[in-house]
Structure formats: structure tokens, C-alpha cells
Amino acid sequence: MSLLVFTLIFPLLGAITLSLFPRMSYGAARTIGTASVGLAAFTTALVAIFWSAAGGFPFIQTLWQWIDAGDFQVNFSLYLDGLSLTMLGVITGVGFLIHLFAAWYMVHDLEGKPGMARFFAYMNLFIVAMLLLVLGDNLLLLYLGWEGVGLCSYLLIGYYYETPANAWAAFKAFIITRIGDVFLAIGLFLLYVVFGTLNIQAILHAAPSVLAQGGTLANVAALMVLLGACGKSAQLPLQTWLADAMAGPTPVSALIHAATMVTAGVYLIARTYGLFLMAPAVHELVGIIGVVTLVIAGFAALAQTDIKRAIAYSTMSQIGYMFLALGVGAWQAAIFHLMIHAFFKSLLFLTAGSVIIACHHEQNIFKMGGLRKKLPFDYAMFVIGGAALSALPLVTAGFYSKDAIIWEAVANGHGFLWAFALFGALITSIYTFRLIFVVFHGEAKTEAHAGQGLAHHLPLAVLAVLSTFIGAMIALPLDDVLPHDMAEASHWVELFFEILAALVALAGVAIAAVLFLGSRKTVDTVVESHQGQRAWQLFHGGLGFDTLYDRVFVRPFRATARAHEKRDWIETIVNIVPALTRGANTGLAAGQSGRVRAYAMIMFAGAAVLLALLMFG
């Protein structure tokens, strides 16, 4: 059990070694980077076995006391329970597969340029930070990991920093998530003031007695945590960074911007669920944010031409489903969908990466086309991942995780949210199969060379297996951590709603087939009409949030800054001091004429004044 800390140590050692020798060969960098995460995954497996053999009780490993300042004491402690074990498994397991794939991908992406060690150093560091985030037993340690993953995300989005656009995308991601982080920090301060501790379990334990149900304090604290989660998980209103984050290498998109980091918000809300139970209004808001995001992101995904951006919007949309699950109280379903999503979304991203390399760095789906024959393996992988994303019934893992969420929404009496979620499911399967049909069907437009080697095939194959019903058979040990999903209804009602959801998913596939298989005449006519153009532009730009934020925040800020650059009244006041000094200097310097006769005159005048004062004063 005390092996737990080694899940952190291996990647940390990897990151340190790789940063110390940045010029090491490709082979060495790939081996170290991948092996460190592989060892972490192996350790996780051992920990999981020992933990469940020991009865599955929460386990705390205190490494040292981190901060000891008066009443404020924070331990550097790792906390292992069903929830953190689940996250641990996803991070190290999926993380290892993605590292393995990256070992293949980066060789083809770098093409001999230096930077392999740097890439794996960042990736390993990310794993460390992400593990700290999920294993921290107090909110401060969680926050350390939270900021750590933000940093690694920034570094990896801007990995190809020679292109200015990539650096700007990294800035954007960093700044927007930072806005969320500020709210989270405020939430942490608030929680410390109220509870006197940052220990998560202590806070959860004390919440019902300290906070008033639905009180202002509970609402504000929960809202701050929610906004923090929104920033990291790319949910409305802080969602605009994720699509641009695709500037990073594809394995980064798979690891950070699909499987792990962006789901940290879901983890945070699930971890502090007690807080949200005390703030029903904010809890309701979680579900609403999720639903709005999933629909908006779904529409945006329909109008993307870049394969990675389309998958990025679908990630946003799927995290919207997780937020919906959290919002309707289906805590376990949210975490289950988190895990399944990590499987199929990293499968989709890695396959997209494989396709991009096969087509010589082409990312525009309309320039691919007809790759089914040349890349049969990638085709199979993409169809499996896409089917899981669309939640096609019975055979895919997504069916079990996503339809559980949709069912819980209606079973818990959120009919309105349910309708939107179902509509989102329809859009999901339309845009997923649009991608498949456009990329892999139709006439061939480009040369393609299929990827070779174990590092290419193995991760995709394993993730593909996990994306089918086999992955859905993994039972998560969440019963002791999160409340049971409350849904209670007769079996037949549930069956009815599940069949409905399945039919919606299949209908989406059918619509996509009608629209995008074959000549695509209908779509072209609609898009080329005047309204169609405008709608396409709107969806393509993520429904105008970038423009909105530019108008509301960026431009007024810059205009204000420019207007006050010259006549700022505070600066006018401050400027009095140097003006006085300078004036006095000029006056006194003029008195220093250098002429002896003038000095004599001044001396005489002074003496006369003194004398007059003595005589008459």
C-alpha cells in the first residue's frame, strides 16, 4: 500500500532525467518517458490489488508536513479511495498507452528535429501533477496539482513554439483556465475561513453541520469551486480555449485535452460533492451548464474542417454530459462516463494522429477522403471510437455510460435537461459519423501511408477493446465514496428510455449517412445559401464566444488602457512629486550663477535681513 507514492516517484524521476539531458537520443528519451509511466501504471495495478485485498478502506499516506504556520497546517498526504483509485487507473493506464503511442508519433512528427526529451519531460511532469491532483488529501495539494497540470498544458500546447499561433493558443488556454483558477483559489480561502481546515474529508464531514442548507455561504463556496471546474473542464462560460489547444501534438490532445486534465473539473465536483448537496441552487446550475455546453459544442463540432478541432468540440460536449450527470446527482454515472470517455476519446485522438501522420500532416478532413482502403486499421479504430462516442447500442461502452446519464436525468425529474441531452446525443452521432464518412469514405484525395509497429498498433487496439462493451464491464469501487445514484423506477420505464436513446443515436448515424455519404449535394446547397453561410460561420467559430469575449472584455479593456495612457488622473497626482523636485532644481541651479559679486550681494542681503530681525524682531 505504501507503494502508492511510487506512482508519483517514477514519472517524477523520468521528468527530472529527461530535463537534465535534453540532448539525449530519440530512443533513450522515448524509452525513459514511456517506461516511467509504464512503471507507474504497474504500481497502480499493485496498489489496486493490495487495496481491494485489504478491504477497500480509505488509505492515507502522509509523506511529510508541508506547511506549519500557527493554526494553518497542511500535510503532504496522499489519499486513496475508490474515486482516486479510479482516476489513478485512468491517468496511469490511459496515460501509458498514450505515451507508448507518442513514442511512435513524435518520431514522425519531429522528423529528426531536437525536442524529443523535452516532449517526454513535459508529459511525465504532467502525469506527476495530475496524480497529485487526484491523490491530494487536502485542497491545497489538489490545487498544487491543479496548477501543475495547467502549466504542463501550457507548455505542451506551445510545444511547437516556433509558430506564433501555437504560442498564442498556449497563452489563451493558460489565461482562460487561470480565470477559473482564481475563482477556485477564492473558494479555497472561503472554505478555510469557514471550516478552519483544507482537508477534503474533514470539510465533507463538517459541511452539513457548519453550512446552512442553501445558505449564502454554501452557495458562494460551491459556485467558486464550480467556476474553477468550468475553467479547467472547458465548460461555459470558460470553454473557448479548448479548441485552440489543439495546436499541441496529437498525443497531448489525447492525454491532456481529452482523457485526463479536462476531466479534472468533474473530479473536483465529485470530490467535493458534499458542498454541492448543501447548495441546491448551484448544484442545479452544474447540470444547466453541462447541458448548454454539450449542445453548443455539438453544434460547433458539426461545422469544423479540422479533424482535431472537431474532436475537441466533442470532448467539450462529452464533459458537458459529465457535468449534467453531476448536476442531476448521478455522481457515479459521471465518473463512469469520465473513464469510458477517456478510453474512446483518446482512441479517437490517437487514431486522428495516426491519420494525420499517414496523410503527411494534413488536418483538413475535406482534403482526406476515401482513406478506408489505404488505412483499414485506422478506419476500424476510428469506427469503434466513433461508435462509442455516439453511444451506439449494446456493443459500445459509450452506450452504457452515456445512456445511464441521460436516463438518470429523466429519472431524477429533470425532464428539460433530459430533452436537451437527448438532442445533444443526436448531434453527437451526426458529427461523429460526418467525420467518419468524410475522412474514410468517398473518393480518395490524398496519398496515405499506414503507420507501422507495435507502438502504433498496441495502444490503439487496447483502447479499442476498452471502448467496446468490455470496457463497460469494469466495475468502479465508488459505492463508499459517492452517494448511490438515486434513480428508482420500474424496469420497463428504464428500458423504454434506453431504447429511445439508442434509437436517437442510430437516427443520428442515419442522418449523417444521408447528408455526408455520397455526393453531399444537400449539405452543399444549404451551406452555400446566404443564411447557410452565416450559420456555418457561426458554428465554425464555436458560436461566436470568442467574438463576444473580444467585444465585451478585450476591446473595452484595451480602449480604457489606451484612453488613460496619456491623461490618467492618478498619474497626474503622482507626477507632482517629480515636477516639484525638478522645479526646485531649476530654481536653485539658477541661483548658483558662479559670479562672486552676485554671491556677495546675496550674502549682504541675508545679513541685512538677519540684522533687521535682531533689531526689530
Binding site: 550663477s593 558662479g594 559670479r595 562672486v596 559679486r597
Partner: protein, 102 residues
């Protein structure tokens, strides 16, 4: 010496002092400036003599001897400066040596 004569004596000293001062301020020729300084010093000396005579005290005489000594020293230094001025600026205009202005 009665009070009336002291007023005359002091008045003469003040007049001499003022004349000397005016000379110092308005003359640009360093030699005349030095001479006017001598007049001012001697005006001060005269004031001490008058005061010493008025109160029949030897202090006034003592102070006068001191002032004479200071005046002699001052004249020596002043003439030295005058020579340096002539040597460096080729003029004895005192305003020529006004380079140390702010």
C-alpha cells in the same frame, strides 16, 4: 567721548562699509574689488575703535589689531588669486571666473 561723537563715528563706519560694499558689488576689476574689501574691513575696524573709545575699554583696540592681521592675510591671498586670475584668464575681470554655475 560722548554719545554724540559715537553716533558720528559709527555713522562714518557704516558709510565706509556701505561704500566698500557697493564697490565690491559693482566693480568688475578684481583689484578694485580687493581694495573695496579692504575699505569694508577697515570700516569694521573703525567701528571697534569707536566702541572701545566710548566705553573706555581696551577690547576695541584688541579687536582692531586682530582685524588688521586678518586684512593683511586677506590681502595676501587676494593678490595671489588676482595673479592666478590674470595668469589663467588673461584678464582681471572677476566675472570671467564664473564657471562654477549650476
Amino acid at each position: 567721548m560722548n554719545e554724540l561723537s559715537m553716533v558720528y563715528g559709527m555713522g562714518l563706519a557704516a558709510l565706509l562699509f556701505l561704500l566698500g560694499f557697493i564697490g565690491v558689488v559693482i566693480r568688475r576689476n578684481t583689484l578694485f574689488v580687493l581694495m573695496c574689501l579692504e575699505i569694508m574691513i577697515n570700516a569694521a575696524g573703525l567701528a571697534f575703535i569707536v566702541a572701545g573709545a566710548r566705553w573706555s575699554s581696551p577690547d576695541g583696540n584688541t579687536m582692531f589689531i586682530l582685524i588688521i592681521a586678518v586684512a593683511a592675510a586677506e590681502a595676501a591671498i587676494g593678490l595671489g588669486l588676482l595673479l592666478q586670475l590674470q595668469k589663467r584668464f588673461r584678464t582681471i575681470d572677476i566675472d570671467a571666473a564664473s564657471e562654477m554655475h549650476g
